[in-house]
């Protein structure tokens, strides 16, 4: 019941945020953070819950973004249709990715997905007739104000988290974590592990792809370097979930805000208060943060919240 009260408070705050803080700059940060809530949560479903650590989630993000962009540039319909078609498009690509990569386990699966991300980036760069190549895709922004974008991504993020929560409390959820804990044992319990790994991958790709389509609509410009980026997309998805807490429902949400916040603090040199070179340091800080989390807070902020309370707030055990 206490949890419900917090949900209502946060829900109201998130709905009223743009009205309380009318700054376009902060609204932008919130939108980006909410987008990472979606990508991080969907990565977490595949990696945190099902144990298949993907280093190639940029594949689905980029496919989603380009689906939306290509609908606008080639079919001359609104890029917003991308929100409807990006998910299924990403799922189709995911079917192929799963067919190839699920032959491998653990670190080999991770390497294969990493390679997949690089391969599709090269394809997008070179298939100029479809994607525009390095020039990228530029569309007109539908809305001058950031407000509609904020509410769209907020709705998507809530939907994503809600669906993942429902799935994890079902038979599928049990099967996903069983595969994560011991795939061979899971097989002997009657679990078709290949099928369920693919189901997890498809759901994960669906949401990440939809986030990509949103990105296309919001930023109005994409190119292969950005949306098929190992560093900016694939690795960021992993960091968001590790810091927030893998295998938790809210971990990726918390991680998204923390990482976007840190990223922006450094990019802006602490909002202009620190020397200029600080803006280059965000990658260093990310690295140190991940090392810290792995060593001391393996379950992330959400997973190890009790531990954090003890040490930071000096609460008794």
């Amino acid at each position: 019941m206490k949890k419900n009260r917090w949900m209502i408070i946060f829900g109201a705050l998130s709905l009223l945020f743009p009205l309380m803080v009318p700054s376009s700059y902060y609204l932008h940060l919130m939108i980006i953070a909410l987008m990472w809530v979606i990508i991080g949560s969907s990565w977490n479903l595949l990696a945190g819950y099902t144990g298949q650590v993907s280093f190639g989630h940029c594949i689905f993000f980029g496919v989603g973004a380009y689906t939306s962009g290509i609908l606008a540039t080639k079919l001359h319909i609104s890029a917003w249709w991308g929100l409807l078609f990006a998910g299924p498009a990403a799922m189709l690509v995911a079917l192929f990715v799963g067919w190839v990569c699920f032959r491998l386990r653990g670190p080999y699966f991770a390497l294969a997905t990493l390679a997949g991300g690089e391969i599709i980036r090269l394809i997008a760069t070179n298939w100029e007739s479809l994607t525009g190549g390095m020039v990228g895709i530029l569309i007109f922004q539908t809305f001058k104000s950031k407000l509609p974008y904020y509410y769209v991504v907020l709705a998507l993020a809530c939907l994503c988290i809600y669906l993942i929560k429902v799935i994890m409390k079902s038979k599928w959820g049990y099967y996903f974590v069983s595969i994560r804990e011991d795939q061979d044992a899971a097989e002997t319990l009657g679990i078709n592990t290949l099928l369920y790994k693919n189901i997890s991958l498809l759901i994960s790709a669906f949401f990440t792809g939809t986030a990509g389509a949103f990105y296309m609509n919001y930023m109005a410009f994409i190119d292969p370097q950005v949306v098929f980026s190992l560093h900016y997309i694939s690795v960021m998805a992993i960091l968001v979930s590790i810091v927030g807490g893998v295998a938790t429902i809210w971990g990726s949400a918390v991680g998204a805000f923390v990482m976007v916040g840190i990223q922006e603090m450094f990019r802006s040199s602490f909002f202009g208060l620190a020397p200029k070179w600080v803006s280059q340091a965000h990658a260093l800080v990310f690295g140190l943060l991940v090392i810290f989390v792995i060593m001391f807070l393996t379950n992330g902020i959400v997973g190890d919240w009790a531990k954090i309370k003890r040490y930071v707030f000096r609460m008794p055990r």
């Binding site: 079902s170 974590v177 069983s178 804990e181 011991d182 044992a185 002997t188 009657g190 679990i191 078709n192």
Partner: protein
Amino acid sequence: MPLLEIKNLKKTFGGLVAVNDISLTVEKGEIMGLIGPNGSGKTTTFNCIMNVFPITSGDIIFQGQSIKGAKTYNICRQGIGRTFQIVKPLARLSVLDNVTAAAFCRVNTIKEARSEAERILEFCELDKEKEKLAKSLPIGGRKRLEIARALATKPSLLLLDETAAGLNPSEADAAIELIKNIRNSGISILIIEHIMKVIMTISDRIHVINFGQTITEGTPREVADNQEVIKAYLGDQSC
């Protein structure tokens, strides 16, 4: 018609012949023991039955149908449950969740799966530990959890792989009781075991193998008196 029939099973790993022409049957309602020195091919036989790897030649017939080459999860669904010699708990899940995951083999809702899991945990005397993480259980509890999980898939045949290994005498007695109760509930059992007290007490028949080949088969009494079996376990009495 026997419940399980292994016909001329052969399994090679490259040049190594792990299982060489083994044939045995398990009748409905019986407890068949499978014994032999370490490395004789017992667990490999289990792995062949479950198609963990493909068999080289021979056939495995369960309830009248060949299950050779069937997917492991389908073999489970058809009615063969299996425990592992080195236990494989779903470590970070609770004891209850371990068995609930298994119960989903036969039911679809969480409510049904959980209640089935609780029933089985009670049967296996693990209900007091149901909220504990599987990795926090001592070896005796983990072995019982292996069995509970396999039972949740409602098997007709249960393959037990050294479920009494590493247990102290009173735990071994409890294991014997549990296995008898399982058989009494209508499940047939093929059991690999080293602890003679366990295997001799509960088996109806025993099949003895060494170096992947059958030495003999018979009742516990017959097997205990067999010279070849004694030689295999204790070596030649040439001193």
